[in-house]
């Protein structure tokens, strides 16, 4: 069965029908790539992403029983992944920068050193511009621009009002465009 065709209801049913491991494997195979790329865009490094993603799925496993079917399974998992990625960045801030906001330098260095970055110069300049945003702006920008997520789904993931998300995305785009204009001028 192609993973995309496996319905969430089927997986949840398997889980509550005492076939937890089978259900969990299906869940991992179905969503691992989407969650991976969501975290990767925040952390840049493949190694950091790999570590965080495994923690994400451990948390999903541990909390699967509490999952309420009134929200979408994907937005619930997305929220866990988002929180884990943000926690990782906050921990990095705390350890490296002593609780200041300066994480963009760290992420830029990670981008420069990342062996699995295969983009050209244009892609690199976009990623650098994105890294100048705050965590929240980056999150919203990535989810809207790269993942084409609806504001309603984002609101469920981030537990922020749709209007706030629209404003955040608008500001993020403006900042990125301004940053890229400077790059264009300098080049």
């Amino acid at each position: 069965m192609y993973m995309e065709e496996v319905a969430d209801e089927y997986i949840i049913g398997l889980f509550h029908g005492q076939k937890q491991e089978e259900a969990f494997r299906l869940l991992v195979r179905k969503y691992q790539e989407r969650l991976y790329w969501h975290v990767r865009k925040m952390l840049i490094s493949h190694e950091d992403t790999d570590d965080v993603l495994q923690n994400v799925f451990v948390k999903i496993w541990q909390n699967m029983r509490e999952f309420r079917s009134d929200s979408k399974l994907y937005t619930w998992m997305y929220r866990i992944a988002t929180n884990e990625a943000l926690n990782f960045l906050n921990e990095k801030r705390r350890k490296v920068y002593g609780n200041t906001d300066e994480i963009s330098d760290f992420l830029e260095n990670t981008l420069e050193d990342e062996p699995s970055f295969s983009g050209d110069d244009i892609q690199r300049e976009l990623q650098r511009a994105i890294l100048q945003l705050s965590d929240r702006q980056r999150l919203v920008f990535n989810m809207k621009y790269f993942d084409d997520m609806s504001y309603e789904d984002m609101a469920q993931v981030l537990e922020v009002a749709v209007g706030t998300l629209k404003a955040t995305y608008h500001n993020a785009v403006k900042k990125i465009e301004a940053s890229l204009k400077i790059v264009d001028i300098l080049n």
Partner: protein, 116 residues
């Protein structure tokens, strides 16, 4: 935004190691088990290398257990079961043994058929 779309085309500039997603589920399962996440390790797992002999022993044990329970010697069964430890860290309850034997009786037919 239109300029951005044209220029950057929403391309993903990052890659992953070969076979990363093929191998990730097994690594995640291993981590869940390592963290004691409550994913049960089925008693049958370590017995996979001994299918034939274990199936015979399992059937015999099942018959013996049924006889002993019917004779109302539950205390003796509990003490005797301590001797039937296939693994020094494997210490199942009565219910787990009975559940395992019930499933293994079906599996035994596959073993006889040579289908593993």
């Amino acid at each position: 935004m239109e300029n951005m779309e044209d220029r950057y085309k929403k391309k993903n500039p990052f890659t992953v190691p070969e076979r990363y997603f093929d191998e990730l589920p097994d690594r995640i399962i291993a981590r869940v088990q390592m963290t004691g996440g409550g994913m049960k390790r089925k008693p049958v797992r370590f017995l996979r290398a001994w299918r034939g002999a274990v199936a015979v022993v399992a059937v015999s044990l099942g018959i013996w257990l049924s006889y002993m329970m019917a004779s109302h010697n539950l205390d003796r069964i509990e003490k005797s079961e301590e001797e039937y430890v296939f693994d020094s860290q494997f210490n199942p309850t009565n219910e787990e043994i009975i559940e395992y034997l019930t499933s293994e009786l079906d599996s035994y037919e596959w073993v006889i058929a040579g289908i593993y």
